[in-house]
């Protein structure tokens, strides 16, 4: 009974917490990429004389962006398939929030202990991204259609890397429950697998979040704003919200699968946060150091680098399962 109440309470607490962390990670992405480009970026402490007008800190800048979008007019194009266009952002948000329920946070196992939670979480993450493709296709804009098509192509290869990486870990550890995977003891062989499968998952996260070499779905100035070209106001805000949850979810999933036992006990919280910030830092470094790939180059790169790495991870995982 106590467990049930604790789970329900933690499910309620995790939503604002995940939003806050997602917003902070997005802020870090923006701030660090600005620092890499010799800019200042959103200010952590505003200049003294501007504080009355511009607020004291911009730590929550991505949240202000979302709130502002909620206060704006929402334009629905005449040529769009209205229902799919309007509901897709909300469905994307619902799936992203549902996915974070299955990913543990230090001190909160949430629903990650249910059987097959690894598969459920990965499906929910995929479903959230699926609706960022369906909505733009329904918008009737050629730019959105091109962006969505690019997203589908990228999605196919990055998803393959994602699935190979999580199943390599699952085979090696003989479990499909995230909670069990996130608390398991480390061994030398598993550390080797963590390196290869972790690199694979990192590459997949780059594709899922549209980090720089793989940002061709939203290629600004090339295909306007890609999938989001026709979205405005509340609907765009909802997409940004689901993106913040997705960023939190993917970072949390990475830590719980590849850095056990950081996502288990509440005492690991400081190390968990440090690991998350390091991961965001690495994502930012990749973003600022790379130009945008063409879709063909991206697919080639995934096929030449990521898939062999995935197969290698699978061989290591099978060896661990059979031998160790």
């Amino acid at each position: 009974m106590v467990d049930l109440i604790y789970t329900v309470v933690s499910l309620i607490v995790i939503v604002p917490l995940a939003l806050f962390l997602g917003v902070v990670y997005s802020f870090l992405l923006r701030k660090l990429s600005a620092r890499f480009q010799w800019r200042v970026g959103p200010m952590l402490r505003m200049y003294g004389d501007l504080k009355p007008l511009l607020g004291t800190s911009r730590l929550l800048q991505p949240l202000y962006d979302i709130l502002k979008l909620y206060g704006k007019e929402t334009v629905v194009p005449d040529v769009s398939r209205r229902r799919l266009f309007v509901y897709s952002p909300y469905l994307s948000l619902i799936f992203a929030v549902a996915a974070i329920f299955f990913i543990p946070f230090p001190g909160m196992p949430l629903l990650s202990g249910v059987p097959y939670s690894l598969i459920i979480a990965s499906y929910l993450l995929i479903a959230s991204i699926l609706f960022t493709i369906l909505g733009p296709i329904a918008s009737g804009s050629p730019w959105a259609a091109i962006g969505a098509r690019r997203e589908v192509e990228l999605f196919l290869v990055s998803e393959l890397g994602f699935v190979l990486s999580i199943f390599a870990i699952a085979i090696a550890r003989q479990s499909l429950v995230i909670w069990e995977l996130s608390k398991g003891a480390q061994s030398v062989y598993l550390a080797l697998l963590t390196v290869t499968a972790g690199a694979l998952m990192f590459a997949a996260v780059l594709g899922k979040l549209h980090i720089k070499p793989f940002d061709m779905p939203e290629a600004e100035a090339e295909i306007v704003a890609g999938p989001y070209t026709e979205y405005s106001g509340k609907l765009l805000g909802t997409y940004y919200l689901s993106k913040a949850f997705l960023l939190y979810g993917l970072v949390a999933l990475f830590i719980s699968l590849f850095l056990p036992p950081l996502a288990t006990d509440v005492l690991w919280l400081p190390l968990y946060l440090i690991a998350a910030f390091v991961l965001v830092f690495l994502l930012t470094a990749v973003q600022v150091l790379n130009p945008r790939y063409r879709i063909r180059n991206a697919i080639n790169w995934y096929l030449k680098v990521v898939i062999p790495l995935g197969l290698l991870s699978f061989i290591i995982a099978l060896a661990i399962w059979l031998v160790v």
Partner: protein, 148 residues
């Protein structure tokens, strides 16, 4: 001031509408976004689609061929919105417009087509002047909300 009004002031997004200038103002506008002036400090971002924008930044004197595009981009920006005209051409037509257009291909300043809220004169205006214009635009944005 509620959190929504604050959010509107904290995160103004610009859409840069180049309607037939000489590129001088556009280069200065980009300089305002680049490392030296970096308006992202205050949450200002350049967005690629007019549907995401709060502030429409126009540069240049509108040629007649460009009339439908200017109107359409203006209509695509969701309310509340503010138009900032950057440069002498966008403010009064500069040397292309003297009571009437000086050239058969020119309509004149964008004010003849769409309501402009802030004028930033100069040929080309400095990035400081453009940032000041955008700040005036933000203040107008806050006022527009207050009226509703």
């Amino acid at each position: 001031m509620g959190i929504m009004d604050k959010a509107r002031i904290y995160s103004p997004w610009l859409y840069h509408l180049h309607c037939g200038g000489c590129n001088g103002c556009d280069i200065e506008t980009l300089a305002a976004l680049a490392p030296r002036f970096d308006v992202e400090r205050f949450g200002i971002q350049l967005v690629p689609s007019p549907r995401h924008a709060d502030i429409l930044l126009t540069t240049g004197c509108v040629p007649k061929q460009f009339i439908p595009m200017v109107k359409r981009v203006y209509e695509q920006v969701p309310e509340p919105k503010v138009v900032v005209a950057v440069g002498s051409c966008a403010c009064g037509g500069s040397l292309f417009y003297d009571d009437a257009p000086e050239n058969y291909a020119i309509l004149g300043h964008p004010d003849l087509l769409i309501p402009v809220d802030v004028y930033v004169p100069g040929c080309a205006p400095k990035p400081e002047a453009i940032i000041n214009g955008v700040v005036q635009g933000i203040l107008k944005l806050a006022e527009k909300r207050a009226k509703k």
